[in-house]
Subunit: 326 residues, 4 copies
């Protein structure tokens, strides 16, 4: 009888590592306004996490010449999954660099490689569970920081949305074949796939990969990084806080058809990186989920069941130009 | 090199099969008030599901002499997982009956067996994805029924809470060893484990098994079946609807420490079965989650961060007596 | 010593009387979707009220050739205030018709007259407090209909927004001098007053009068009639219900700067009359409230603190053209 | 023809003046946790107001030997109403002291007197509209402080609840005859009136006067002072913040039948004074509102439509003993 042996699996989105030309202003945005907590910092880097996160960080802000996404990290399910993914990725012709612990603070040994689109990923298993100072700790034993600690008080990282000038379909297939992401919903335009929402968890998406316009100057860009709140009402409170702090909301608040999420988008004024604040939505537990296709006639509903409807890939150049490079 | 072979896995809670001495009244409660939809019925059985559910049913109501939980169904991740679980269960000394398709309407071949506590389970993979009548269908392509269709409009089944006069620790270990449930949070009393919340999904619990008091007359009981709403505010609206319909809330609304859920409990007036209406809470994506222990000094916080605090295992006999038998 | 004698006062907005070319469709919208209740009807007229209203109606729908606002009714504070207002109005040169009871069903003796803008008003004191059928009655002794009875379940009429091709400032002064409305907030454009929000109650406005564009074909138009919900989240639920029923939201959901209200606008498909669904906002209890001026640089904030910002008097002709005539 | 002359009227609840034996701790509670703003202070007194309040203060905290309510202030509608009330009160045999401006900081000339129950009131018209520092100011022109400035961020004072060992009915009649308060809802026990909710505004109550138990040691006590939030969800957030800060909620969150308010009660740890955090509810615009009577069979619904139901005048001695003296 065949021994059981786990296929390697990704457990979760770990973090985004972002460059910003104005670290102080970005820190003001992500810490003071969004309400992330700082777990470590150097002269040029700050590590942050949300109030419900136990791991070392879900965001790295690094000072740099220009705003760009450096890479995205993913935590694997078991220590031996790093070896399993190494085997699969190299077997499929992807160059994989094995990096020692602390290549990124708080992270153990890791694998680095890139998608065909040029987006860079890191896989890791070991990670520091950073302690919380007594003054900040929740009365809830299952929560690191006390609720509503400061600012918008986002709860956890939710997903990342990547844009590419390459064929998105090819990226979706690559993510499925190599990393086990399942396609949950996708949009089809007149010339084929324009975007897909994929996950390894019951979230509708841990990652989305969308088609960027031809005017984008690099193949690998980030559209946004999303953080979670528990209630739609909390997104409305976030809108108040942002406008009171001088922000113009980039889009929303509204409700996406895809994922059914209550959302708003806002830009980090230090870098232009777009952040989505995200709530509600639905979870997928059915193991045989059939990906939902949104065709051209459905695209407005896909983007916004209600709220702004001016967010349209391949239509609105301003939107495109404001993704940040990877 | 060893071939990968998946360990068998449970994908999700499928359904609860409940007996009720007053099917009409129970149907009024679950259909008209909670807002479930009927997908099939016979003279003595009704199959229901929530508005966001694609599968045939998450609840079976069957006419019977007295209120009791007949059994709980779980969907496995892959067709071959039925064989895998059969191997594991029988290898561990559990009697497993293989039942043909449609032993329960809409369900394919299944395995039936019981926990050491006497609670009966059914595992299945194949299930009918029941179509929705045009008049009831959502404009959202990813949602079967339109939002807020009728009544409280619960969205999906969430979890089931089982009570036993046996040692709960032994049940938790059995669920872990045989079915892969992970312990997420647990409560410890002066004489040991009094309850545990376990899941195979990122939900804090798909199932809880708690210690029942000695006055319970059978070893296998159900404390409650839980359905999900998207926002805490929706639970307050549910409270309004229930009180307007003549219900006294059993407990809540309030917020559990365990799972951080916004909750209320109410009884089906046809059977006395307790239903939890549940929102918010948190998700666990960390693959090395350390189970959270709530000791005796934490038990009030575990049960209610705020809201009613009179719900205390081993203390309140009235609560105990109102679980329904399995 | 001078005897005290009350100045006549308006207590509240009573109702809007609207003509619709498709009474059945309008009734579907106001009854089935918004959730108003029918208290009386004839072949050509239907009287409706919201779930928290005790009086006979807050809306009259009457079959007519085209959509228009017939008139707005206001309830005075004391029976003798009808005489007081008659004295003031005629003293100021306004023609006032005294109409016998039941000129409008459920309403006692009333005064009819029109503003300089041509908008027609009716003042009344006596009104039938229509009983609620037992099956529909709330368990709350202070509420007529049970909460969440059907549809969006709006709670009460809130305000009416009138547009005029005349000078809005003159209308505001007329409303203040004759009927005691206090100016609470106003907007100033490059050529003077473009709108004002006025009330006799602590609501920021019972009535607004705004400048219409020159392309409007009559001097007296209605921009919208507003109904109240208790929570911002309830407005989001209303958005879901409307989109599920096939509506495209006219504007919103969003948050006005003026009044701080959470809002959405939607059109009655039978008539094109615009309805606002409205929550939150603030109340004015200060007796020496200084009217808030929003100048041209503030106008976007005045219209939407967040949410849609494309609603701009004198800018967007489509908005203008869609007010309905009085 | 008779000249119009306004009857004197109360416009609004102004403030509560509370003594506390631990001013620092009380200030931590009212400022840091509730989120009030300090507008003035001396060694022994602190003046505070909520984020949506324009006037100098709605709360005075004064250091004192023991917790007690000193007096309640009410703003009149017009400057000449002070004279009008003086005439009425003295005409009815009440001793009235005329106090010069700044008897209370920020307040002009005022009248002091007491109810038959011994509760002390101050009437004033002139009041300082305290400016807000630029750093704290809202982007909304109609709001002093920016939204969600700190802590729970209560929005405005709502009402005060007074308890008396005298006959409450006599107090209600006195408030009606002398100050124009209208009875909106009342509760009747086996021996007559046990409480009444009264207002001069459309709020269901600006003041309630309830029957205290015989064990209360002074005739004039305060049960609670209430501050407003915009949404029921905001009360749930307040619950989180309070429990995270170490508070046990005194009662709630829940929904009152009387007033239909979403509520919670919590005690100032510096003084034991009870504060209600309050949202939703309904407004009364009908000028001929018939007071709602809640009899003994209705009392549970009156106190809590849902949420805690253990709050019962004349039944629960612990509740009684925890009112604070006036």
């Amino acid at each position: 009888m065949t021994e059981f042996r786990h296929y390697p699996e990704i457990a979760k989105l770990g973090a985004a590592h972002l460059y910003t030309p104005d670290l102080d202003k970005s820190l003001w945005f992500f810490h003071d306004i969004l309400g992330l907590h700082i777990t470590a910092r150097t002269d040029t880097k700050v590590y942050l996490r949300a109030g419900m996160e136990h791991e070392h960080h879900s965001l790295v802000l690094e000072a740099g010449d220009r705003a760009r996404l450096d890479h995205v990290t993913w935590r694997v399910k078991r220590p031996e999954d790093l070896e399993g993914f190494h085997e699969i990725l190299t077997g499929n012709g992807t160059d994989v660099a094995v990096e020692p612990p602390n290549a990124e603070d708080g992270i153990g040994e890791s694998l680095r490689f890139q998608m065909p689109s040029g987006h860079k990923f890191r896989l890791y298993y070991d990670v520091e569970k950073t302690a919380v100072a007594d003054a900040d700790r929740s009365v809830l034993l299952n929560q690191p920081y006390r609720s509503w600690h400061h600012g918008i008080s986002v709860r956890r990282i939710d997903h990342i949305n990547l844009w590419t000038t390459h064929d998105p379909l090819a990226q979706h297939e690559w993510l499925s074949d190599n990393l086990g992401f399942k396609l949950r919903e996708y949009a089809t335009g007149p010339h084929g796939r324009i975007g897909g929402w994929m996950s390894v968890t019951p979230l509708v998406h841990d990652v989305a990969v969308m088609k960027a316009g031809p005017q984008e100057t690099t193949p690998a860009r980030m559209h946004h990084l999303a953080y979670w709140l528990d209630n739609a009402q909390d997104v409305l409170r976030a809108s108040d806080i942002l406008v009171e702090a001088g922000f113009a909301l980039d889009q929303g608040p509204g409700k996406h058809g895809v994922s059914q999420a209550m959302f708003l988008y806002v830009r980090d004024p230090g870098s232009g990186h777009r952040v989505e604040i995200f709530s509600a939505g639905y979870l997928i537990f059915d193991p045989d989920w059939e990906p939902i296709e949104w065709g051209m006639k459905d695209i407005k509903m896909a983007l916004a069941m209600w709220g702004p409807t001016d967010y349209m890939p391949h239509v609105d150049d301003n939107i495109m130009n404001t993704t940040t490079e990877a």
